[in-house]
C-alpha cells in the first residue's frame, strides 16, 4: 500500500471551499469516497502493472496547490489555443472564465455549460448521471480519485436526441504564468443522446517552463446512432505534468472518433477507454512527439462487450533526444462479442540513440468468431530515403525533418476539421520545421 505524502493529504483536507458543486449533497459524498480511496491507495507507483513504465514520483514530490481565481490571462497563449469557428469554453488554472468564453447560437436544448454553472434540475440530473458512469474499476487509480475529490470545474455537454451541433465545441484549459505549482483538476462530462452529432475538442496549453499539474477526467456517453468526434490537443509547458483520461461508453450503433495529440509536458499520460456496445464503431488516433527528457505515456483500452462492433486504432510516436514513449494498447473481446472487428497499430520512430519507447499491445479474446489484428513497429528513418532527398539538394537536417514530418503528418491529415488540422500542424512544424513551403503542399 502506498502512503500519500503529507502534502497531498493537506491538499485533500483543506480545499473544499474552492471546489464546484458544493450545493449538490450527492457530489459531496462522491468526493468523500474518492478522498477515502486516495488516502488508502495513494498515487500509482511502478509496482502497479498499468504504471510500470511511468514513474510519477516527480509529481508526488512537488507541492502542488490550487491556484487563486481570476489571475491575469496570457493573451498570446489564449490566441494560440483558440480555434476559429468554434464555441469556446475557457478555463484558466482550473476555473471557468466567462468573459473569455462564447457559446452563442447553440441549437435549442443543447447544454454546454461549465460544471460550476450547472443548475439544479435537469443539468444537475445530467451531471449526476454522467459522473463516474463511464468508469469501471480498472479505470480508477490515484489520479482519477484525486480528480473526483478535487475538480474545480470542467464542462457539461449534453446534445439532445437527433440534434446536430455543427460548430465544434472547444474546451480550452490554460495554465497561467502567474501560478507556479498550480494543480488544475478538470472534469468533463459529455452526453450525445440518440441520433445526435457533435464535435468536442479539448485543448491544453501552458506557458513555457512553468511547472504545474493538469489532471483531467473526461467521461463520454454516446447513445444509439449518435456520432461524437472528440479530440485532445495537449500542448502543455515543457516542465508541466499532464494526466488525462477519456472514459467512454458506446451504445448500439454509436460512432465515436477519438484523436489524441501529445506535444507538451515533462511527464504526460493519456488513458483512452471505450466500452463498445452492439454494432458500434470506435476510431482511436494518436500522435505523440517527444523531445528533450519528455516522458509521454498512452494507454488505450477497447472493451468489445457486444457483437458486431468495429474498432480501429492507430497511434504514432516520434521520440527524439532522451525522450521516452509508452504505448500500452489493450483490446478485450468478451465472450458475447462475436463478429468483433478490431485492429490496433502502433508505429514509432526513434530519432536518437538515447530515445526510448515501450510498446505493449495486448489482445484478450474470449469470443471465437472475431477478426482482431495488431501490429507494432519501432524504427529509424529510412537511410535510402535520406540519401535520395540529399542527392536532390535537401541538406541532411532538412531531409530528416521532411521524413519525420511526413511520418507524423499522416495523423494530422486525418483531421477533417481544418482549423484544428492547422493548429496541430503548427505544433508539428514547431518541432520539425519545413522551410519555404506552402501548407497545402505538405
Amino acid at each position: 500500500m502506498s502512503v500519500l505524502s503529507t502534502h497531498y493529504n493537506d491538499l485533500l483536507q483543506n480545499t473544499s471551499d474552492e471546489l464546484t458543486g458544493n450545493d449538490f449533497p450527492w457530489l459531496g459524498s462522491l468526493r468523500q469516497r474518492s478522498k477515502d480511496s486516495l488516502l488508502v491507495s495513494g498515487l500509482p507507483s511502478l509496482r502497479d502493472e498499468e504504471w510500470r513504465y511511468t514513474n510519477i514520483s516527480a509529481i508526488e514530490k512537488n507541492e502542488f496547490k490550487l491556484a487563486p481565481r481570476n489571475l491575469a490571462v496570457d493573451q498570446s497563449l489564449l490566441s494560440k489555443a483558440l480555434l476559429n469557428h468554434c464555441h469556446h469554453l475557457v478555463f484558466i488554472d482550473g476555473y471557468y472564465r466567462d468573459e473569455l468564453s462564447s457559446s452563442q447560437d447553440l441549437p435549442e436544448g443543447v447544454t454546454v455549460v461549465p460544471l460550476s454553472a450547472a443548475e439544479k434540475g435537469e443539468q444537475e440530473t445530467q451531471f449526476k448521471s454522467l459522473i463516474n458512469a463511464s468508469f469501471n474499476d480498472e479505470a480508477e487509480h490515484g489520479f482519477t480519485h484525486l480528480n473526483t475529490a478535487l475538480f474545480t470545474d470542467g464542462v457539461l455537454v449534453c446534445i439532445p436526441e437527433n440534434t446536430v451541433v455543427e460548430k465544434p465545441i472547444q474546451v480550452v484549459c490554460l495554465a497561467s504564468s502567474n501560478s507556479p505549482l498550480a494543480v488544475s483538476n478538470y472534469r468533463n462530462l459529455i452526453l450525445a443522446k440518440a441520433g445526435s452529432k457533435a464535435t468536442v475538442i479539448e485543448s491544453y496549453y501552458g506557458s513555457q517552463d512553468m511547472c504545474y499539474l493538469t489532471n483531467v477526467v473526461t467521461e463520454v456517453v454516446v447513445e444509439t446512432n449518435a456520432n461524437l468526434s472528440h479530440t485532445r490537443l495537449q500542448a502543455e509547458s515543457n516542465q508541466a505534468f499532464h494526466m488525462g483520461g477519456v472514459y467512454s461508453t458506446l451504445e448500439k450503433s454509436a460512432m465515436f472518433s477519438q484523436s489524441n495529440f501529445t506535444f507538451g509536458g515533462l511527464i504526460s499520460r493519456a488513458e483512452i477507454h471505450a466500452d463498445l456496445g452492439i454494432e458500434s464503431s470506435c476510431i482511436l488516433d494518436g500522435l505523440f512527439l517527444g523531445q528533450d527528457k519528455q516522458h509521454l505515456d498512452h494507454h488505450t483500452r477497447l472493451n468489445h462487450k457486444q457483437p458486431h462492433a468495429v474498432s480501429q486504432e492507430l497511434y504514432k510516436g516520434v521520440m527524439a533526444d532522451q525522450s521516452t514513449g509508452v504505448f500500452q494498447g489493450r483490446i478485450v473481446v468478451a465472450e458475447d462479442a462475436q463478429k468483433t472487428d478490431a485492429t490496433m497499430n502502433n508505429r514509432n520512430l526513434l530519432l536518437s540513440e538515447r530515445a526510448n519507447i515501450d510498446s505493449k499491445p495486448q489482445l484478450e479474446i474470449y469470443a471465437d468468431d472475431v477478426k482482431c489484428a495488431h501490429g507494432v513497429t519501432i524504427g529509424q528513418l529510412d537511410e535510402t530515403a535520406i540519401f535520395y532527398l540529399r542527392s536532390r539538394g535537401a541538406d541532411e537536417k532538412m531531409a530528416k525533418n521532411m521524413l519525420t514530418f511526413a511520418f507524423a503528418n499522416e495523423m494530422v491529415e486525418r483531421i477533417s476539421l481544418e482549423p484544428l488540422r492547422h493548429k496541430v500542424m503548427d505544433e508539428l512544424l514547431k518541432q520539425f520545421p519545413q522551410t519555404d513551403i506552402l501548407k497545402e503542399w505538405l
Binding site: Y388, R392, G393, D436, L442
Partner: protein, 250 residues
C-alpha cells in the same frame, strides 16, 4: 568538368572498381556500358556520394573541386544529379515539396533568391507537360505507387527542374516500354546543352538509339576495357560483352 583518375573502390572489402580513368568535358555525352556486376552502378553512386563505399585510391574532381570531399547535398548543389535506377519511394513527402526543397537548396548555394511559389509551380508544370506527366503527380508522395515508367519520368522531371551540369543516368532505360523510353529520351535530349554533360549508364544499346552519345566506354570487371565512339555500342550489341573480354585494350 569531371575528371576521374585511377579510382579504386571497395565494397565490404571487395574491390569493385579497379582504376577508373574518365575525362568528361562540358556538353559531352558519355555512355558507360557493361555487363551486370561490372561496377556501373557503383560508379554512379560514388559520384552521388552514397555511403558504404571505400575509396582506396584515386580522385574525382568536378569543376576543379574535389568531389569526394563534398557531402551528398553539396554535390547536388554544385550540379551533380543522379537519376536512380530504382527511384526511392518517399511516403508522405509530396513531389512538389521535394522539388521546391531541392531547388531552394541549389539556388541558395549558387547565391540566387528563392523562386516565388507561383513562378515555381508554373515552371514545374511546363516541364511536366513536356514529359507528358499529369499535374496530379505534383501532389502525390514522391514515387509512391508510381509505375516503373512514371518513376523514371519523375527522375527526368527533377533533373529538368534542378538543371544540373552533370547528369548521371543509371540504367534509366530499364523497365521502360518503348513509348516511355521515347518520352524519357526526348526529355534528356531537351536538356542537352553545351555546358551540361551526361553519363549514361546502361546495359543495352537501345537507349543510345534515342540519346546519341559522343563517347562509349565499356566497363567490365571494374575497369574501362574499351572506349570509342557511338559505333562501339553497335559493335557490342552485335557481338556481345564476351567480345570485349577477348579484345581488351592493353
Amino acid at each position: 568538368m569531371l575528371k576521374i583518375k585511377n579510382l579504386h573502390v571497395k565494397v565490404e572489402g571487395k574491390e569493385i572498381l579497379k582504376g577508373i580513368n574518365l575525362d568528361i568535358n562540358p556538353g559531352e555525352v558519355h555512355a558507360i556500358m557493361g555487363p551486370n556486376g561490372s561496377g556501373k552502378s557503383t560508379l554512379s553512386y560514388i559520384l552521388a556520394g552514397r555511403a558504404g563505399y571505400e575509396i582506396t585510391e584515386g580522385s574525382v574532381s568536378f569543376h576543379g573541386k574535389d568531389l569526394l570531399e563534398m557531402s551528398v547535398e553539396e554535390r547536388a548543389w554544385a550540379g551533380v544529379f543522379l537519376a536512380f535506377q530504382y527511384p526511392v519511394e518517399v511516403p508522405g513527402v509530396s513531389n512538389i515539396y521535394m522539388l521546391k526543397a531541392a531547388l531552394n537548396g541549389v539556388r541558395k548555394y549558387n547565391g540566387l533568391d528563392q523562386l516565388d511559389a507561383m513562378d515555381f509551380i508554373s515552371m514545374v508544370k511546363e516541364k511536366m507537360r513536356d514529359l507528358d506527366m499529369d499535374e496530379k503527380f505534383l501532389y502525390r508522395a514522391v514515387n509512391e505507387g508510381f509505375s516503373g515508367g512514371e518513376k523514371k519520368r519523375n527522375e527526368i522531371l527533377q533533373m529538368s527542374v534542378l538543371a544540373p551540369s552533370l547528369c548521371v543516368l543509371d540504367e534509366t532505360d530499364s523497365g521502360l516500354d518503348i513509348d516511355a523510353l521515347k518520352i524519357v529520351s526526348e526529355g534528356v535530349n531537351r536538356l542537352r546543352d553545351p555546358s551540361r554533360s551526361f553519363i549514361l549508364v546502361t546495359h543495352y544499346q537501345r537507349l543510345l538509339d534515342y540519346i546519341k552519345p559522343d563517347f562509349v566506354h565499356v566497363l567490365a570487371g571494374g575497369e574501362i576495357v574499351k572506349s570509342g565512339g557511338p559505333e562501339l555500342a553497335l559493335e557490342l550489341e552485335a557481338k556481345g560483352y564476351s567480345w570485349v573480354d577477348d579484345n581488351k585494350e592493353s
